[in-house]
């Protein structure tokens, strides 16, 4: 049940995407997000999605894992799309369909929904192909300029990696406690919202207690090994940019240029397609 949580779950493989430097992947994700937001028509978005699809194919991660990541935000997507359709402010020359629904409203809602979905799918590709450890290593390295203003980058990275690492552990723990309380006759699936929320108390309290206990133990274990986030710490795995990172950067640069071109010549393209159609 809880093991379905896709976020933070690494899909082990040895693909091109997996082997990319985590910093590259983080930067590419940012570039991808920029691409999605820069794109002002379906051409640009289609190009971004094509890029994602190719990346997914190269990563060897099954498409179903990527699609599963949408499950969590499907409500949000549908809700925003509905709002966009219903509260669309019509401009001059829009096609009125019926009631307050305009064709352009439908378009913009669809566009927004697609944007959100591609955003989440892209981010989940990052967490599916990067181990939490190398992900935080990458973030730490990317944020290291902030050290100049005495920002505790290393500690932040450590907090992040512990938090990410705790997700599956706590998910397992939750499942165990849920089972134990179910065995004592607890019912989590029936009743109204209030009684369901109340039914969660016997799960949340033991979970909190155990999270604190784990935190204490981890702190003691780190103290016992004389851990201190000092500047002189060395790394077991040094991050290095390789040829494949360069290739990935070049591809994304080309794609961003493509998206911008589509933005400029979008109207002409529509016209071209329309003329070919008729």
């Amino acid at each position: 049940m809880l093991s379905d949580v896709t976020f933070g779950q690494y899909y082990p493989s040895n693909s091109f995407v997996h082997k990319l430097d985590p910093r590259t992947k983080i930067l590419l994700l940012i570039a991808y997000i920029v691409m999605i937001f820069v794109a002002q028509n379906f051409f640009g978005l289609a190009l971004s999605l094509l890029f994602l699809a190719v990346a997914v194919i190269f990563s060897g991660v099954p498409f179903t894992s990527i699609l599963k990541s949408i499950k969590g935000i499907i409500f949000l997507v549908v809700f925003t799309a509905l709002l966009n359709i219903l509260f669309y402010a019509p401009k001059e020359g829009d096609t009125h369909l019926f009631w307050i629904i305009y064709l352009e409203g439908l378009f913009s809602a669809g566009f927004l929904a697609l944007r959100l979905v591609s955003l989440v799918m892209g981010s989940s590709l990052l967490t599916l192909t990067t181990t939490p450890v190398s992900l935080t290593d990458g973030i730490e390295s990317l944020l290291s300029p902030l050290k100049l203003i005495k920002f505790p980058v290393h500690d932040l990275a450590l907090i992040m990696s512990i938090a990410l690492r705790s997700i599956p552990t706590l998910a397992n723990e939750t499942e165990r406690i849920i089972n134990a309380q179910k065995a004592r006759g607890a019912d989590f699936d029936s009743g109204n919202i209030i009684s369901r929320a109340k039914a969660l108390i016997p799960v949340l309290i033991p979970l909190l207690i155990s999270a604190f206990r784990r935190g204490d133990e981890l702190g003691d274990a780190m103290d016992a090994r004389c851990y201190s986030g000092s500047k002189v710490r060395t790394k077991y795995k040094k991050l290095t940019f390789g040829v494949r990172d360069l290739v990935a950067f070049l591809i994304v640069c080309a794609l961003i240029a493509g998206v911008i071109l589509f933005n400029i010549y979008g109207a002409q393209l529509w016209a071209l397609i329309a003329s070919l159609w008729s």
Partner: protein, 290 residues
């Protein structure tokens, strides 16, 4: 209640790269009145098996009946009887003290009773909670304490009381003595025997990987390995397979090991491997050969 499993199969993470066959064609009968020991390593399928017994894992493939409840029937029908089943088959997980949540011992123990018998009157709840706690040797002075203020052994007993409160016919315990000190272990096992002997709980199933513990306490055992049952029967039969049990990296009780070693030097004794019987047989062998 008799528990009968026939060709039970279960796979975790079906259809994915991480698929694990946790149970493969498991057939096992747990007779009413037995003190049953389930042995196996972590990942051998023993926990998956016991979670089938009260519907925490639905039957996927094969047959499983607990008393008159057929768990392998239509899931919709089976689900309606989960409450009844879970009241009758009490399940104590590993380190059950981690599931305590209420502000007082009373409230925590009462949780299960109120779930199973929602129409119970306050004094019925009280009687049930007192009864369960006293079965585990905890008096009225504990009722208003916070479960978090108790010692490890006491917490565990409160947690077990929280399961016993619904008067189960079968009590399943996953590693009940794990993490307790020797005195606490002995006390808890003695309590379980008291429950069993007084018929308060008719059938007890314990999961363990301590061979001595199983051998001393259980009337029947089943050995799980990689999702299959490799041995089942009376402990005195199962623990004769010294070599195979060693190959499974489970080992045998110390009495069984000694009997085997004695055999190699020509001393043949016939024991049921409980320590008491072993010592008696050795003593009589010694006397006869003097």
């Amino acid at each position: 209640m008799r528990i009968v499993a026939e060709n039970l199969n279960f796979t975790y993470n079906k259809k994915s790269k991480f698929a694990v066959d946790a149970l493969k064609d498991v057939s096992l009968t747990i007779e009413e009145g037995s003190f049953f020991g389930i042995i196996g390593h972590t990942g051998s399928g023993k926990s998956t098996f016991i979670q089938h017994l009260n519907g925490l894992i639905p039957v996927e493939n094969g047959r499983l009946t607990v008393g008159d409840i057929d768990l392998s029937g239509k899931q919709k029908e089976v689900k309606k009887r989960y409450k009844e089943l879970r009241a009758k088959v009490g399940m104590v997980f590993q380190y059950p003290e981690y599931q305590l949540f209420a502000e007082t011992v009373f409230e925590d123990v009462a949780f299960g009773y109120r779930n199973f018998f929602p129409d119970a009157q306050p004094d019925e709840v009280k009687t049930a909670v007192f009864g369960a706690l006293s079965l585990l040797g905890l008096g009225a002075e504990y009722l208003d304490k916070s479960p978090l203020d108790l010692s490890g052994g006491q917490k565990r007993r409160v947690a077990i009381a929280g399961v016993l409160v619904s008067n189960p016919e079968v009590l399943v315990l996953d590693e009940p003595v794990a993490g307790l000190d020797p005195a606490g272990k002995n006390e808890l096992m003695a309590l379980l025997h008291k429950l069993h002997d007084s018929k308060r709980v008719k059938t007890i199933v314990i999961v363990s990987h301590d061979m001595d513990e199983v051998c001393e306490n259980c009337t029947d055992v089943a050995v799980f390995s990689e999702g299959q049952i490799v041995f089942k029967g009376k402990p005195e039969e199962v623990f004769k397979n010294v070599e195979q049990m060693n190959d499974l990296r489970l080992g045998v009780p110390v009495t069984s090991f000694l009997t085997d070693e004695l055999k190699k030097i020509g001393v043949d004794i016939d024991t049921d491997f409980t320590q008491k019987d072993f010592i008696e047989k050795i003593a009589s062998h010694y006397k006869n050969n003097k």
